[in-house]
Symmetry: C2
Subunit: 194 residues, 2 copies
């Protein structure tokens, strides 16, 4: 690996993290190198920096392209293909989440839905279905939340996340303002669901 120490440390750590998330180490290295690169790189640039085989880099780039995580940047007068990561890290994370959702969450929801449609033959299966239902509903809650806030432009999303649980205070205030004295509490949050 022929990288300045600071870059190498980052690349190695990123590869390590990737491998804990079902992404192969080398693919993690490749993405890390592209992420910190000053300019678009071609496959051979990556071979040089990482010291892995050309074919390995080729497969890694393909994998990253399947994840929609790369931008191709043609350089005039050069036949080789050059790659960068998106400049905006928020865009990178959005893509990452979208792709994982598509590959892992959506199929899981489909399976759970199918299993919940079946008629349980035994009390054992009936109990299993109840558990699956809990899981289904939680995953749905989380993905619906994500689908919803994902539509926000990045600035607004950052604002919202910065607030954290303080949002709850604002909701309580709304409750206080709009709930008739003596009325049931939290009406704002309950109504807002529609």
């Amino acid at each position: 690996m022929t990288l300045p120490p600071l870059c190498e440390a980052f690349v190695l750590h990123f590869g390590e993290m990737g491998s804990r998330w079902g992404i192969n180490r080398t693919v993690g290295h490749i993405y890390a190198v592209l992420f910190i690169a000053e300019k678009p790189l071609c496959a051979d640039d990556i071979v040089e920096r990482l010291g892995v085989s050309r074919s390995n880099v080729s497969m890694g780039l393909k994998e990253l392209q399947n994840w929609n995580l790369l931008r191709q940047r043609p350089i005039p007068g050069d036949r080789r293909e050059f790659f960068t990561t998106p400049d905006d890290i928020h865009a990178i994370v959005r893509t990452l989440v979208d792709e994982r959702k598509k590959r892992e969450i959506d199929p899981t929801l489909t399976v759970l839905r199918e299993l919940l449609m079946q008629t349980p033959g035994t009390p054992e299966e009936q109990h299993a279905q109840a558990r699956l239902k809990d899981m289904y509903e939680l995953i749905e809650l989380l993905t619906n939340w994500y689908a919803d806030v994902q539509k926000l432009e990045t600035e607004r999303l950052i604002q919202l996340l910065s607030l954290g649980s303080k949002v709850v205070k604002v909701l309580e205030m709304k409750d206080r303002l709009f709930t008739l004295p003596g009325g049931r509490g939290h009406s704002a949050t309950q109504n807002a669901k529609d």
Copy 2:
């Protein structure tokens, strides 16, 4: 695998998903079996259901215990150890997120912090640091948000998530109510940061 079809389908899918998330397939199977079981199971119950070796189950259970994902439930008059998953799936997911944060996010933040302290020797390293800073700040935003909403009790958290981006509407309303006419917009969200 000696499980009713519905259970088997779930267990297999869960194992598959686990293996994409850096959790070994069998450990996923073990957790799935425990998750849908009607009563606490001992290691041999799992051996019987999954058809893997006793030692493999032993290692898998240990792994799951290291993740804090199991509850031990002694059965009077039986020397064997019996296990269940927590009843509340929200608790399970909280634990899962907490543990992953501890193992993956926190060390990453430490590494990034260290690398950002270094004095860059070259323009290349300087540019890398700028990228790392973007990444650091985004991860911090997300983990701070999580640390904050995690404190909410489950009911409140569900309310908040159900709202999704509608929260923004409430914030805008707050803005309208409390910002003096002619004042700059979004003051509510900006102030709430303190």
